[in-house]
């Protein structure tokens, strides 16, 4: 099979396979399997386009996950900056040659895949900042000079994504970055300043929002404001989840999704569909698997000796958790609809690719934990 020639290693492939974290791998696989069924249901119980392409993507990116795992952590460490800059370049490229869909310019046409660089930026930023804070000494963390650089590294992609416009993804990118900064030990007061600044700029930011974004926020505050318009998604999603009850309506029997009351059912609202068909037990199962994944990543981070490894794993675990929480919170009507996919479950190549890369690097850290980053 694959053998990374360029990287010196004293671990054989067999060693690497054996040192894979089994729980994490199985959980990822389980989510994958569950997502096949969910996707099959969104296709109306047919083995149709979404299901097929989702399965193919999962196979490709799950393989990618293994490949990345087997590559030395030091490689990822050293290529973090380039990875970040590369994605940043792609984000800029999107501005000029990106595909536009539903009023938003997010995608690059790569023929076999419409790549959404903003998804990759979620990982890119974490990787970049983890490396950054690995390098500087803990004494320097709170110095102004060392604060400016991460802030710029964070703001630049976030602004690029906001202007696509894609509020949800830019928020998730920013959250990932802020977590790294937080874990690195930046003093609380800076976050307070940042928070204050954010609040102050909120009115200005709101004036820049597109009408549909404004209405989404207003609708979140009062879904009955416009039940057939902007509130429709929240209302229908809640109806679907609630009507699932304890055990659900049964596989392929979710009337809400079947009769097209659920919008975006194969992407952002895949959890809703699953909840409707499998009820409270179904939703809890998925939630538990995601918690298990998060927990395993944190655990892996715990065993690592480098601050890069720890920072990366902790941050990624937290970011991963937030992706899940934001998606679920959104479909459950706890937070506004922002357009955040559910990791691995949701249909979408870029998102799955980003998550698999992120998870792969975590696994690489685990496998190569005894090796130095040098």
């Amino acid at each position: 099979m694959f053998r990374s020639g360029s990287i010196q290693s004293h671990l054989t492939l067999r060693d690497k396979i054996f040192s894979l974290d089994l729980t994490l791998t199985i959980c990822i696989f389980l989510i994958g399997i569950i997502s096949f069924f969910a996707m099959y249901s969104t296709d109306g119980g047919e083995f149709a386009y979404h299901t097929k392409s989702h399965i193919i993507r999962f196979i490709i990116f799950f393989t990618l996950f293994f490949i990345i795992s087997f590559i030395k952590t030091s490689f990822w460490y050293s290529s973090a900056t380039i990875f970040y800059l590369g994605v940043l370049f792609l984000l800029i490229l999107v501005k000029y040659v990106g595909l536009t869909s539903s009023g938003s310019q997010r995608w690059l046409d790569l023929y076999f895949l419409n790549l959404q660089p903003s998804e990759l930026m979620k990982i890119g930023l974490i990787l970049f900042l983890a490396k950054y804070y690995h390098k500087i000494s803990s004494g320097d963390v709170n110095k102004f000079r060392y604060l400016a650089q991460p802030l710029l590294a964070l703001l630049f992609p976030v602004i690029l994504v906001i202007t696509q416009p894609d509020l949800g993804t830019s928020f998730l990118i920013a959250v990932g970055g802020v977590i790294v900064v937080w874990l690195a030990g930046v003093k609380m007061k800076f976050f307070a300043y940042l928070g204050g600044l954010f609040l102050l700029s909120a009115p200005i930011a709101i004036s820049f929002l597109k009408p549909y974004q404004k209405s989404r926020i207003l609708t979140f505050l009062d879904p009955s404001r416009d039940p057939l318009g902007a509130g429709y998604q929240i209302t229908q999603s809640k109806i679907a989840i609630g009507s699932g009850g304890l055990f659900g309506k049964g596989f392929l029997d979710g009337s809400q999704s079947y009769l097209d009351y659920l919008p975006e059912k194969h992407t952002d609202f895949i959890f809703t569909l699953f909840s409707e068909e499998f009820g409270f037990f179904g939703s809890m199962t998925i939630l538990l698997i995601y918690i298990l994944i998060t927990w395993r990543i944190v655990n892996i981070g715990h065993t690592l000796r480098t601050s890069f490894g720890r920072l990366y794993c902790y941050s990624f675990a937290t970011a991963f958790f937030i992706y899940v929480a934001v998606n679920m919170g959104m479909v459950l009507g706890l937070i506004p609809i922002v357009g955040a996919p559910l990791p691995i479950m949701s249909y979408g190549g870029s998102s799955m690719m980003a998550i698999m890369i992120g998870l792969g690097i975590v696994m690489s850290c685990k496998i190569h934990k005894d090796q130095s980053l040098g």
Binding site: S137, G185, G242, Q256, F308
Partner: protein
């Protein structure tokens, strides 16, 4: 090599901060789990309902109303096929363009269009709006021609109420769209919501509404988010309303209506034993079909501004002083109370002076010496002034009430008026003044405060004609009357006439308990005396309706005329002898006539009132004569139907 600067202290810091994040995550997990529990467990029922509401859509349709037939099975209120045009707003591509197009094709008025638009706004987008519920064939075919470009429009063949003739418009009533008031008054309408639903507004349509209306049907479909029907879940065809047979005779209705043509008034005919209302006609009449599909403002204004009030059912809502038709009742009251006897003689010189007031007889020259029979036969007012004076108003009013005046007798007709049976207590309460003795005298000839409906007069006559029993009117066949209860008990329903004729002479105390009718008399001779006096009035020279008699023995009837003044005749007018027809229409006397027929074996009673028709003998009596002739000609036929009727549903 790049070193991990900071070392273990840094890692410790990271760990500490990670701990905080983990705690925050736990909070979030609690939040999500809590929400899941609340949605999927606690409120699951609510959301299941909402989900079903999403899934299912119901289309409800109005059932055909039951048919109303006459005694012989002729349909009076029927159903006919109508072409309707329904519009389902959510199926239309461009609603306003569609409405504009329809407006042109159907040549609708702006008013009609705005009504439709209002209706669309008021209901769910998948509920059909009836653009027109009675398209002509030309319109219907024109719509079908353009149908391919009228997405969202559905031509539908439906069933609607139709009234084939207008003689029974008042008694049958009419149906129209459901109003807010209807919803408040008729509870059963709450689950009767359907496009094109009609509700009975007046007459029998209103009385029988809850049964005749039927049950709303529905089709339930599972639909997707775009309103497309996925599959039919259930269908309920609804139930056609119950049909009713009435006691009416359509042919007599038509005859009566024709006799009253160009006149204002009413004719009532009743079976004196069963109480069956055979005729209830009011004139002028109107076209009830106009209400079924919404009456135009012009037609409506015309109807309500008409001098003769065509919408009023004068048979039960028209109030008239009974005039001399009440004299039989006054005589009965006086005889029953032993105030006078039939032999009492009074001299009539054309007027009498009492209490400082001059009371006139209709005959200026006077009747000379008259006894009670002659007084009824020739309708001597002076005689009855004296009888009333001796009797007193309170005793008279008691008798009047027992014979059916001053109360609603036809059950279920909201429009029925009770009228006025005056007495001292009534005047004190309603007018706040004491009773004057002079008013008793006026009351004795049916003038003054009296207000009666033609139906009440007909019932009064029936109760006299059947020998003084409290028969009650009924109009719906199968409705339990006292008599039908009795015949059921006897299990051998012989004709009641026979029963009366053979057994009434025997101790009626036993039999009356049996057949349910209460005698209204103390001494039946008094009733019979009045019947005989009525005979004289019609069949003996000098009688007030002698000119309208039927001389064939089996057609001979007995009746009493009445002329009721609508104004006070001044002394000057009396002197000038102004003829009634020379007066302005509104001031002319009402013409009344009550009778029963045939005299030998009384079967039917009749009352005729012609508003401002002059004297009773001139206008009302000749009309009654024609009705009676037809009525008696049809008696055998009616009897056959009666004998074959087994009380089954129609």
């Amino acid at each position: 090599m790049i070193s991990d600067s900071g070392g273990s202290s840094k890692i410790r810091l990271i760990g500490r901060r990670m701990f905080i994040l983990t705690a925050a995550k736990a909070v979030v997990v609690f939040g999500v789990v809590g929400r899941l529990i609340s949605l999927q467990i606690n409120e699951s029922k609510k959301y299941k309902t909402l989900s079903d509401k999403n899934r299912f859509r119901e289309w409800r349709f109005a059932p055909p109303r039951g048919v109303i037939k006459d005694y012989f099975g002729e349909e009076i209120a029927s159903n006919q096929k109508v072409f309707q045009l329904h519009l389902i707003p959510e199926n239309a591509e461009n609603l306003s363009a569609l409405i504009f197009r329809l407006k042109n094709i159907l040549k609708m008025s702006d008013n009609a269009v705005s009504k439709i638009q209002k209706k669309i706004k008021s209901q769910k987008p998948w509920d059909p709006v009836i653009v027109s519920d009675n398209l002509t064939w030309a319109e219907f075919s024109r719509i079908n021609l353009f149908l391919h470009e009228l997405q969202g429009v559905e031509p539908i063949i439906s069933v609607a109420r139709v009234y084939r003739e207008q003689s029974s418009s008042h008694v049958i009533g009419y149906v129209s769209k459901i109003s807010k008031k209807d919803l408040q008054q008729k509870n059963y309408l709450a689950n009767m919501k359907a496009a094109g639903m009609r509700v009975g507004k007046t007459g029998l349509e209103n009385k029988l509404d809850s049964e005749i209306i039927g049950n709303v049907g529905h089709k339930r479909y599972e639909v997707n988010a775009f309103g497309k029907r996925i599959k039919e879940v259930s269908i309920d065809k609804g139930k056609i309303g119950k049909s009713y047979k009435t006691t009416l005779d359509l042919e007599l209705q038509n005859l009566s209506s024709n006799l009253l043509k160009d006149k204002a008034g009413a004719i009532c005919v009743m079976d004196i034993y069963r109480g069956d209302i055979i005729t209830m006609v009011s004139s002028p009449t109107f076209d009830p079909n106009k209400f079924v599909h919404g009456i135009s403002t012009k037609d409506w204004k015309e109807l309500i501004s008409h001098r003769d009030k065509p919408l009023v059912n004068k048979a039960i809502s028209g109030l008239y002083p009974p005039g001399s038709t009440i004299k039989g009742l006054v005589a009965i009251s006086a005889l029953e109370n032993d105030v006078v006897n039939t032999k009492m003689v009074q001299q009539c010189s054309g007027s009498i002076e009492l209490y400082g007031e001059k009371f006139h007889c209709w005959k200026k020259k006077g009747h000379g010496f008259v006894d009670m029979r002659k007084a009824i036969k020739e309708s001597c007012d002076v005689y009855f002034y004296e009888v009333a004076r001796r009797l007193g108003i309170d005793r008279l009013s008691e008798t009047a009430r027992s014979f059916g005046l001053g109360d609603t007798m036809v059950k279920g007709f909201n429009e029925e008026k009770i009228g006025v049976v005056p007495n001292t207590k009534w005047k004190k309460q309603r007018i706040g003044k004491s009773w004057y003795l002079g008013e008793t005298l006026h009351s004795g000839i049916g003038q003054g405060y009296w207000q009666t409906t033609p139906m009440q007069l007909c019932l009064m006559t029936a109760r006299i004609a059947n020998g003084g029993y409290d028969v009650e009117p009924r109009i719906v066949l199968g409705e339990k009357s006292k008599f039908s209860l009795f015949t059921e008990k006897k299990k051998n329903p012989k004709s009641l006439e026979e029963f009366f004729n053979t057994e009434q002479s025997k101790e009626f105390d036993d039999t009356t308990i049996d057949f349910g009718y209460k005698p209204l008399f103390r001494n039946q001779e008094n009733i019979n005396f009045v019947k005989d006096a009525f005979f004289g009035a019609t069949n003996e020279p000098g009688g007030t309706s002698y000119g309208s008699r039927l001389s064939k023995k089996e057609f001979m009837f007995a009746g009493k005329t009445g002329t009721s003044q609508v104004r006070r005749i001044t002394e000057k007018q009396r002197e000038l002898e102004i003829k009634n027809e020379d007066l302005p229409y509104e001031q002319r006397d009402h013409s009344l006539y009550v009778a029963f027929a045939p005299y030998n074996e009384p079967k039917y009673s009749i009352s005729v009132v012609v508003e401002h028709g002059g004297s009773g003998s001139k206008t009302a009596a000749p009309i009654a004569k024609k009705v009676i002739k037809k009525l008696l000609e049809r008696h055998t036929l009616r009897q056959q139907v009666h004998d074959n009727y087994k009380g089954e549903d129609v």
